[in-house]
């Protein structure tokens, strides 16, 4: 049997769709309602509760914790203040990404790292010889994302700490509905939002407290389908979908470096030694072969292709996660790995790996679409990510 998360007693009762999905060996709701649309809009216009407990979580402590993490990740941990959170990938010796997640500095010598895949063995191997303790707290710690414009107001009602000045990618310790929790202003939606980290045994009580406080604000639970649309709009890559972890890839071509995944900004080549630095420095010199960019698929083009078949324009009802060829003229110059109709932008969007020569924003390309059993090419334009980036995501004052 796959395990449920610590919130399962609540999520199971709410999941009308019985649309369960696997995530890291757990079952989580794909959507709670029969359609995921309302759950998506809760993220963008009110607030949504998303169970993100399946994330792998590691507790890193000890005098060498900072040294170890600086060796592990390409970002500069020395510049991470206590109660700051860093988004970061980490790489193998060849500079190819193994995983990505958030690193929270809980204290000078105490950190928490999240990951999409189990990484204990890799962390232990990188920590060889250092005075550091790495604990796998994946199952001990429940994680709940509260995302959406109303999330701050809801959380303020039941938290015992001020939240107005909690900045983007900062955390605080608090009691939420009387339960000791860590609140981080993070999330996978590209919106104003928080993630709450509590002992697994307290998960259900936290859920109940938030549901009660959020009722007046339109808070509803949202599943993975809604989250997937939000994260594509936010331009956030997903492991196993947008990239293959380097330690799982059967062939070299399947691996990606941070530069190739548009995460060059996380690579601090001058901070000191870290795993993959040499390879990344060399890649930085010559420039990456691939880039990971946004694509906007032209509405007129879609409409035309469908009209040729005598049909109204067809659009994906949920986000897709397959590899779709991208062309320039007759030549394939890349492939899209995630895509969806953005309900808020009213735009068909996709995340694509493009050969660098065709990756500049504004480049006109074509993406394959299948219309009535026939493969066609729709016109598309390279754009900068994120597709959707509301100011409230980073703002430190409550949006009006």
């Amino acid at each position: 049997m796959l395990r449920g998360t610590p919130f399962h007693p609540r999520t199971a009762a709410l999941c009308q769709a019985h649309n369960w999905r696997r995530w890291a060996g757990c079952i989580v709701a794909g959507s709670y309602e029969l359609l995921h649309d309302r759950e998506y809009f809760a993220i963008r216009t009110a607030a949504a509760l998303i169970d993100v407990s399946p994330l792998y979580k590691y507790h890193v402590t000890g005098p060498d914790a900072e040294l170890f993490l600086n060796r592990l990740i390409p970002r500069d941990v020395a510049r991470c203040a206590v109660h700051q959170v860093l988004y970061t990938p980490w790489c193998d010796q060849a500079g190819k990404i193994i995983d990505d997640g958030t690193l929270s500095r809980l204290d000078t010598d105490a950190f928490r790292l999240t990951a999409a895949e189990p990484n204990l063995r890799w962390l232990q191997d990188v920590a060889a010889g250092l005075d550091v303790t790495i604990g796998d707290i994946t199952e001990a710690l429940a994680a709940l994302a509260l995302q959406g414009p109303a999330s701050r107001e809801i959380l303020k009602r039941i938290s015992d700490v001020p939240l107005d000045d909690l900045g983007f990618f900062r955390l605080t310790h608090a009691r939420v509905a009387g339960i000791p929790a860590t609140i981080s202003r993070t999330g996978y939606t590209g919106d104003l939002g928080y993630e709450l980290w509590v002992e697994a045994a307290q998960a259900v009580a936290l859920w109940d407290g938030l549901v009660e406080a959020g009722a007046a604000y339109g808070l509803i639970p949202a599943g993975i389908l809604a989250l997937d649309v939000a994260r594509i709009e936010a331009g956030l890559p997903l492991l196993d979908v947008d990239y293959i972890p380097a330690n799982k890839a059967l062939i070299e071509e399947r691996k990606s470096s941070p530069f190739e995944l548009d995460l060059g900004w996380t690579v601090k080549l001058d901070k000191g030694p870290f795993v993959g630095r040499q390879a990344l420095a060399a890649e930085n010199e010559r420039g990456p072969e691939w880039q990971f960019q946004g694509l906007e698929i032209e509405w007129d083009s879609i409409e035309r292709l469908y009209a040729e078949a005598g049909l109204p324009p067809g659009l994906p009802a949920t986000a897709w996660r397959t590899s779709v060829p991208v062309y320039s003229g007759g030549e394939q110059v890349g492939y899209a790995t995630s895509g969806c109709w953005s309900p808020i932008l009213k735009q068909y969007i996709a995340l694509a790996h493009l050969r660098s020569a065709w990756a500049a924003p504004g480049t006109r390309l074509e993406m394959e679409v299948t219309v009535e059993h026939r493969r066609k090419r729709a016109e598309a334009r390279v754009v900068k990510k994120p597709f959707y980036d509301p100011p409230r995501k980073r703002a430190v004052e409550t949006a009006p």
Partner: protein, 528 residues
């Protein structure tokens, strides 16, 4: 009766002989298969030894039966159904257990219970083995070149092989060299810490060899295990509906439909040699059957030392066949059971009973089992690979009853004092005693017991020294060395005599590859 000459006569109706016959018949050759026993299949047989209970007397799983053989010979149409055998359950002496399930998440969670590191290492190990298996597999599908020959065809093949290894890259080449030289236990120690996991994996490196998990060279055989994974979607590992005999039956049916003639209870006494050419065979009955060519599916010792006189072959060749390692190391115990085994570690009827059950609690356990055999005794606590055929195919036993197949290692052919009825039963008792430490109800559930010793395998199935692979699958006996240097291309020093059994490349297991590759070699030289 009018006598006629055949194009090819195949000695031995084992699965490889039948595959060979089917391919030759398919190419238009007039083919005759001669089988000594009343049933076809050689060691791949299902027999109703006890009324109502179908035993896979010797071989019990279909390991890597080549998909191209199944397709070429239309074996599905001839009744072959391979059912999945998906898990491996290892009960442990401390009352716990370890299972590797078909589902990745489920296996990861189970391994995590024993060691979080191993749960992660398992995936990366699997990835590396798959990469290496992919690297080695083209070699297995190729008739081996002779590194000593300067013929252009051979040189081209050697060059292709060299390029292939160069293209592997240093990391994988290093791993491959390690696999070729290390013991399976040492190799696995570099990856894992859970004893039950290491031992169960190491066991696949010792099956059919007279080596222990700490003997160098056993690591390579681990890789054979992963070959089937390449055809993952195809699920080549499994249990044939109706038992292993059903595989032989399907191949025989295909061969017949392609025009091959098959005779049972026709024991070949010798190969007819006229002026350095094989021209047919003489049966024990005195009958002589003439053919343009003779193909032997028997093991190399029986073929070259049994069916021919030493002076008919070059003495160096006879010498290398004499030194071919073929020590039998395993036995079989087949049980008819009134009820399912109830494992103390995981009581009740569960999915673990539909897969393999492995008595391999630790590497030390296996090595100690080997120690007994090294000095001429069967293991006091043997390694056992168990399946319940009736859990996969209920028609193997009467409703509600079960059959159990227990592969047991080590049981040396050269037992101190030799095998007799008393030692056979003592061996059977040891197996039951060992099993009952983990599933105590088995003892009283036994309706019938069949014990097959290496001596029985030689006597009944014609396997020299009872070796299940027609020669140990150790590195010095693989590829261009199988069965003898310069004679790995299915040809023999006697013109028009070919070999197609497991003693040739790529070796044992119910895979059919030697039979097919031999047919390809023969057809290159003898187009109808």
């Amino acid at each position: 009766m009018k006598r006629r000459d055949y194009d090819a006569v195949i000695v031995g109706g084992g699965h490889n002989g039948l595959v060979n016959a089917a391919y030759l018949a398919r190419a238009g050759l007039d083919v005759l298969v001669l089988e000594r026993r009343p049933v076809l299949g050689g060691a791949a047989v299902t027999e109703e030894v006890y009324p109502g209970f179908q035993y896979c007397v010797c071989s019990y799983v279909v390991s890597l039966l080549r998909p191209e053989i199944i397709q070429d010979l239309e074996l599905a149409r001839h009744g072959l159904e391979i059912l999945p055998l998906e898990s491996t359950f290892t009960p442990l002496p401390n009352g716990d257990y370890l299972v590797r399930w078909a589902d990745h998440d489920q296996t990861r969670r189970e391994l995590y219970r024993h060691s979080p590191r191993d749960a992660e290492a398992y995936d990366e190990f699997g990835k590396l083995m798959l990469q290496l298996a992919m690297a080695v597999k083209p070699i297995l599908g190729m008739a081996p070149p002779d590194p000593g020959s300067m013929r252009p065809g051979n040189l081209a093949k050697m060059a292709r092989l060299g390029r292939h290894f160069r293209d592997l890259g240093s990391e994988k080449l290093a791993a491959l060299v390690k696999l070729m030289t290390m013991s399976s236990a040492d190799y696995l120690d570099e990856w894992f810490e859970t004893e039950g996991l290491k031992a169960t994996m190491a066991a696949s490196g010792i099956i059919g060899t007279f080596l222990g998990p700490r003997s160098p060279g056993t690591a390579y055989v681990l890789l054979h295990h992963y070959m089937g994974e390449i055809d993952g979607a195809f699920r080549a590992w499994g249990f044939a509906r109706g038992g292993t005999g059903a595989v032989s039956e399907a191949i025989a049916s295909a061969a017949r439909s392609l025009g091959a003639e098959i005779r049972t209870e026709a024991s070949v006494e010798r190969i007819l040699n006229e002026g350095g050419r094989a021209v047919g065979v003489a049966l024990e009955s005195g009958e002589e059957i003439r053919a343009r060519l003779v193909v032997s599916g028997l093991d190399p010792k029986r073929t070259f030392l049994g069916l021919l006189e030493p002076d008919e072959l070059p003495s160096e060749f006879v010498d290398s066949i004499r030194h071919f390692r073929i020590r039998g190391s395993s036995g079989k115990v087949n049980l008819a059971l009134a009820e399912l085994p109830d494992f103390t570690a995981l009581p009740g009827v569960g999915p673990h009973l539909r897969g393999a059950m492995s008595i391999s609690p630790s590497v030390e356990y296996l090595e100690r089992a080997y120690d007994d055999a090294k000095y001429g005794e069967f293991s006091r606590r043997p390694y056992m690979d168990i399946i319940l055929p009736s859990m996969i195919d209920p028609s193997m036993a009467p409703p509600g009853k079960h059959v159990m197949s227990i592969f047991v290692q080590y049981a040396p052919y050269a037992l101190n004092g030799g095998w007799d009825d008393e030692r056979r039963e003592a061996f059977g008792d040891t197996v039951i005693d060992t099993l009952c430490q983990y599933a105590p109800n088995v003892r009283d559930a036994i309706i019938h017991r069949q014990v097959v010793t290496p001596a029985d395998m030689e006597e009944t199935f014609g396997l020299t020294e009872g070796n299940i692979f027609h020669g140990e699958l150790s590195l010095h006996q693989l590829f261009f060395l199988r069965p003898a240097p310069a004679w790995a291309n299915y040809r023999t020093p006697l013109a028009n005599l070919y070999q197609c059994g497991s003693g040739t490349h790529p070796g044992g297991g119910v895979c059919g590859a030697p039979g097919r590759l031999a047919a390809q070699q023969i057809l290159k030289e003898h187009r109808p």
